[in-house]
């Protein structure tokens, strides 16, 4: 069983949802990212999504766009991120899911990327703009399989039954359900249909389902955790990182926020 599958199995045994924080690697620099990964783990993260910054983040709202800009300005590269993961792998007791746009991976070459990512201790990969479809010329999925990396794909409120089937078929570890039609970031209330929609997806998918996009408060975590196997919080944490950057208390603040967000899951 993969480390990611393991996490969901353990959470299920504990009768709770997994907590999955996101950060953009290299925001504001990779040294800080290392501290923040440990802070998130200490705060109660079950799995961490490590974002690879990209010049043209079409699926992201302003908060993560700004984080990507800061990360690229500090010279962050995919190789740098993989080296960082490799250096901290042994001391980090949570699986790492790389969260990327496809082009940085494509530029590296999918096979070379998969080999390097696996060697660095990355557990899985999610490409925001690479839906699972056969006939992609690069054989992304077989390359990830060869190197033992989980492939996590997204489902959305617009996904048809046929697409739900396809995403379930090609995903490993879990399926990521996007809570709303839209980009990442806080939009106030969660959509009213979210509970019903998440249930619909879970019935059809034979893998754990994590929900993300726009989840910001402990109350929202609590309500999503009732129907999902995992809860992802991204922009809310990235915003905190933005606000506290340069502040000595940044890592402690992130750890504290993660603890607050996971509080409802431990009750």
């Amino acid at each position: 069983m993969s480390a990611i599958a393991d996490v969901f199995a353990r959470c299920r045994a504990e009768k709770r949802a997994a907590f999955i924080p996101y950060l953009t690697a290299g925001d504001p620099d990779l040294a800080t990212t290392a501290d923040l990964l440990h802070a998130m783990a200490a705060g109660g993260a079950d799995l961490i999504e490590v974002g690879v910054p990209f010049s043209d983040p079409i699926a992201d709202g302003p908060v993560i766009q700004r984080a990507s800009t800061r990360a690229l300005a500090s010279g962050t590269t995919l190789s740098g991120i993989l080296r960082l993961v490799a250096r901290h792998r042994d001391r980090l007791d949570v699986p790492i899911l790389l969260f990327s746009y496809y082009n940085p991976i494509h530029a590296r070459g999918v096979d070379e990327f998969a080999e390097q990512a696996a060697a660095s201790g990355v557990d899985g990969v999610l490409c925001l703009d690479l839906p699972p479809d056969e006939n992609t010329p690069d054989d992304f999925i077989p390359a990830m399989r060869r190197h033992g990396l989980d492939t996590v794909f997204l489902l959305a409120p617009t996904s048809t039954r046929e697409r739900v089937r396809r995403v379930a078929q090609y995903s490993r570890g879990f399926v990521y359900y996007v809570s709303r039609t839209g980009v990442t970031g806080d939009h106030g209330e969660l959509p009213k249909e979210l509970v019903k929609e998440t249930r619909r997806v879970r019935r059809k998918v034979n893998l754990p389902v994590a929900v993300g996009f726009g989840i910001t408060t402990p109350e929202q975590v609590a309500s999503v955790a009732k129907v999902a196997d995992g809860v992802v919080v991204g922009s809310a944490l990235v915003k905190l990182i933005e606000e506290r950057t340069g502040d000595d208390g940044l890592a402690a603040a992130v750890e504290q926020r993660v603890r607050e967000l996971t509080e409802p899951l431990r009750r």
Binding site: A107, P131, S159
Partner: protein
Amino acid sequence: MARPRLRPDLQGYFGPYGGRYVPETLMAPLEELARAYDRWSRKRAFKRELRELLTHYAGRPTPLYHAKRLTEHLGGAQIYLKREDLLHTGAHKLNNAIGQALLARTMGKSRVIAETGAGQHGVASATAAALLGLECVVYMGVLDTVRQRLNVDRMELLGATVTPVDTGTRTLKDAINESLRDWVTNVRDTHYILGSVLGPDPYPRMVRDFHRVIGEEARRQLKKQAGTVSPDVAIACVGGGSNALGLFTAFIDDRKVDLIGVEAGGIGDDLGEHAARFGDGGSLGVLHGTRTLVLQDDEGQIAATHSVSAGLDYPAVGPEHVLLADEGRIEFTRANDVEAIGAFDLLARTEGILPALESAHALVHAARIAPQMSRRQIVLVNLSGRGDKDVESVQRWKAERESETAEPRTEAARTGVAVHPAARQWVTEGGE
């Protein structure tokens, strides 16, 4: 006529290029769009409505003009201009905008969005939306709202909302990013009128097909006016590549015709100084939903581009162009900023036509090759748009350059020397 080919294939690929690389949220809507397009574009009623609008509203067929004074001046091949500049709104873009707006209405979408660089696709979309009673929002990079200010005013007068995009390079690329973000959010009631042969399937084929009429008309007109359907060379500028495929598609199986695409050479050969994807800087990548040639760094981050022409200032190119280049069917070359301004002046003074700066890039290449050809040969140039939108830019470009160099500008234009990077700066400063 050669046997018909299926381009792209059923998965939206032109060989290894193309496809659908978008967030999952857009996958089902793209499937729906492809189905709707396949269904409606074959229906007689849809075709008739489109044809009638193109004829009585937009002004098709556009003239084919034998540019005798320009021909005389260059002293070689006969130059014919396909006058898309005379289409309503002043560029070829309207062919596609009307087609997609009709489709949007048919699909029950009440709102359309569009990106724009030069402003011509934005104006065309705003126009089609006004005509069909649709709400319209246009995204435009801040840099482009400055250098194509006239078109911002036009869009607003047509009732569209223009949203300036202040992220990234603040040009066309970033306007497309923002359009995709809007679409992913509002996809249920919104159609995205993408303005070139770019993006995920079905856009590259749909946009191409709405523009095919350009080349089909040109063949008929050449037959009548020059006694042959086949020019020796056909030339078009290539931003995303829609006016080029609009002209070239009718000639692809006619091997007698050399097809030449002209990219923006900007101010130099380094990454960031041009938008020539077929040069050394371009490599295979995935941007805005399609796998194609992209200007990028080794890490797969998209490069900044530069062109005096906002409509060519974009780091990727339509996927079908890449396949046709691989096959040797289209040859690509580039024209730099100085040369484009020179061609702008040349056409203005020999023919009394102000071309769009985009189209001026195509004219540069015509001016290079025509003198080496015989008077019996024909060069067909797609005059994709008119230059009214560029008047301010050209004047400021010249003023800037004159204050910067002791050489008279005509000398610089003739020799085609690269201009100082300051050529980019004035546009930025203009925004402040």
